[in-house]
Amino acid sequence: MSRRIRRWNGAVLTVALGGALAAGCGAPGGDAPQAEATGTSPSSASSAPTCGTAPVTLNGYFETGFPVPKDLADEFTKQHPNVTFNIREDQFAVITQNAPRVLADDPPDLMRLPQVSELVKNNLLKNLDGYAKAFGWDSWPASQLQQMRMVPGGKTRGEGSLYAMGLNFSMTGVFYNKKLAAKIGMSEPPATLAELDDALAKAKSAGVPPIAQFNGGATGGLAFPLQDLMAAYGPPGPINDWIFQKPGATIDTPPNLAATRHLEKWIKAGYFWKDVNAVDYATMMSRFIKGEGLFMFNGDWESGNLDKQMPGDVGFFLMPPEREGGGQAAMSAPLTFGISSRAKNADCAAFFLNWVATDAKAREIGVRVGGSHPMGPADAAMPEVKAGTVTASTLEAGAKIGKDNGAMDFIANATGAIYAKSWTPQLQKLVAGQQTPDGLLKSVQSDYTSQVGGS
């Protein structure tokens, strides 16, 4: 009797634990889609796909706090009443963490995307080459789509097949407070790096905080001025190669070292706030709007906001070159959207993306609400913008960057971990005087090598 019961107990335990451990058999993973034939073409190869006339519901996964996609979706439904949107929103950080799982398990037709490399590697994104051909995206300025191209297998970015599309593309540079600029006698934006240095020194001695920037927590905002300085000292090509993981690329180059030394000079001269290592992005914005900084290295996604908060008081210029008349470069990135490789309405989603870039009303929404340059052909009509606004000057800067072929991706996007694990702590150490410019670049490069080689 006793023995039988004991065996029973054992059996219960075994069942319970066995159930718990059942997953312990076999390697994890493997539920990602298989690679599709390269260069998938839209269902009707002869003509460009449309949304048809039957009712369609597009599943969208958008970013909270950025109204552009939602406004575009509403306008699209107005023009194409058979298409409605089922939209889910999340913070960008949440989207970044969830992207692979969502694309695999609950495939959206349209999704705001983080860095695409890993998603392409796991075959989660639809190859858009067929659509690009059908809609003629190939004839747009190549730099608009470059960042969303990947070599099959997802190793190198910047070339190969198209895996995502932008709703618009943003541009970074330097915002300045016109009232504070008048105080130090700066009547127009600096034309060279030396003039910028001069303005910074004048501001410092006049008691005006020279630079509003953030560098706290897990987001090292000094990467903005650093990459701008890199662009002032050298050509953007090698920096892009590094970001796109071209074999043999390195960030530890003489121009970049000069740029990092220049940044260190600014730090030592006290041009940044003393507590910059504790300032986050939101704090930087509120302090700049309150007038606690002459310059701010940031992007045109804030143009609309600044036009509203400090009307007429803010200017924007691209990072000045080292020598007058030199080429200019800027971090510029599309507001990336992709189509899941398992999406039900891929054709309609692609039609929507094309509509965003080509429809006059859609382009106007992109500029007015988003503050950034629309995608599309170089000669497409630009929406009217009020002269003298920040939005007007950022759009103008976008044209200049296009002419100088100076678009760069952000150095924080080189690998999934490089920003949080390398740039941010290293820049925070540079501020605290615990790292040298040379040590910073060498350390970032060694992390990069191990991540690129090890992944």
């Binding site: 075994t14 451990l21 003393k274 504790a278 971990a417």
Partner: protein, 307 residues
């Protein structure tokens, strides 16, 4: 799956046959809880063990990695530093709340009848009620360069030491520790206070007759009688220190320059930002073992052996 044979078991004590109810009825009652425990506790632990021996990005196919992920935890200076930071946090999360909690609890006990005691208890316990995220945000305002802490310091002529406490390499970890101490102090105080109410007042009376002062009473009667409560406090707070996540995530996100990076946060970053599920799982297993290794001796040391 192999099942242990009954033969290897030690024979149990003989029980009176007449009293035996079928013991599987007991299992029936336990089954729901056991099922929940198995699915939500045992299974994740088993999966974590499994993931820790693979190299996996969370989606695609995985490759066998053996123990190399564990090797990385102990050889990668960044990963190992997180464990050291957690150990340093024990001072703030554990030592300060328990010592200060003892002092405060015995003070409150002396004035137990007054309204002040009630107010003090409420104020001290409040941090336990407030969500940790809210507490973290409030504290990051207090500790910012223009926050209340620096305003007070400037007011009393200590303007020279003001700084962004959470953004300074030398003060960020202690500043996070102070937040943790504030949160856990109330818990310890209330726990110790309830323990004190169980102490026989006759002991104090006898001590006073023998001429003992308040300090002597505290050392010779209060502390030894609270052995078990102190044990619970230390265990809970040490685990809170080693497994800290929310306060650090809200206050500093591990910065500046990784000075406040703790294992919990690193596991999260590894798994969800860097998609190194294997390394993250290995660090999680190491953290679990560390917690057990630290908590078991505390349990043993503070066990009440008199009963």
């Amino acid at each position: 799956m192999a099942r242990r044979t009954p033969k290897t078991r030690r024979p149990g004590p003989a029980r009176a046959a007449g009293l035996r109810t079928p013991s599987w009825v007991g299992w029936l009652f336990v089954a729901p809880a056991l099922a929940v425990y198995a699915v939500f506790v045992l299974r994740p632990i088993a999966l974590t063990f499994q993931y820790s021996v693979y190299r996996w990005d969370g989606i695609g196919s995985s490759t066998w990695a053996g123990l190399s992920n564990y090797g990385k935890v102990f050889t990668d200076p960044d990963l190992f530093a997180t464990i050291l930071n957690a150990v340093k946090l024990i001072v703030f999360f554990s030592l300060i709340p328990v010592v200060l909690g003892l002092v405060i609890a015995s003070t409150i006990r002396r004035i137990a009848a007054s309204r002040l005691a009630l107010a003090a208890r409420t104020v001290l316990f409040l941090p336990q009620v407030i969500p940790l995220v809210a507490a973290g945000i409030a504290w990051s305002w207090l500790l910012s360069s223009t926050g209340l802490v620096n305003q007070l310091l400037s007011r009393i002529g200590l303007g020279g030491v003001t700084r962004a406490w959470l953004g300074d390499f030398s003060t960020a970890l202690p500043a996070v520790g102070v937040i943790g101490a504030w949160v856990l102090l109330g818990l310890c105080t209330i726990l110790l206070l309830s323990g004190m109410s169980k102490i026989d007042p006759a002991l104090y009376e006898a001590a006073r007759m023998d001429g003992a002062g308040p300090v002597r009473e505290f050392v010779s009667i209060t502390v030894p009688s609270l052995r078990q409560e102190i044990g619970v406090c230390v265990t809970v707070t040490v685990i809170a220190a080693l497994a800290s996540f929310d306060i650090v995530y809200v206050a500093t996100q591990g910065g500046p320059g990784n000075t406040t990076m703790v294992p919990g946060l690193e596991i999260y970053y590894l798994a969800f930002s860097e998609r190194q599920v294997g390394t993250a799982s290995a660090l999680a297993v190491v953290l679990m073992v560390l917690v057990i290794v630290v908590a078991l001796p505390i349990q043993w040391l503070t066990k009440d052996r008199s009963s």
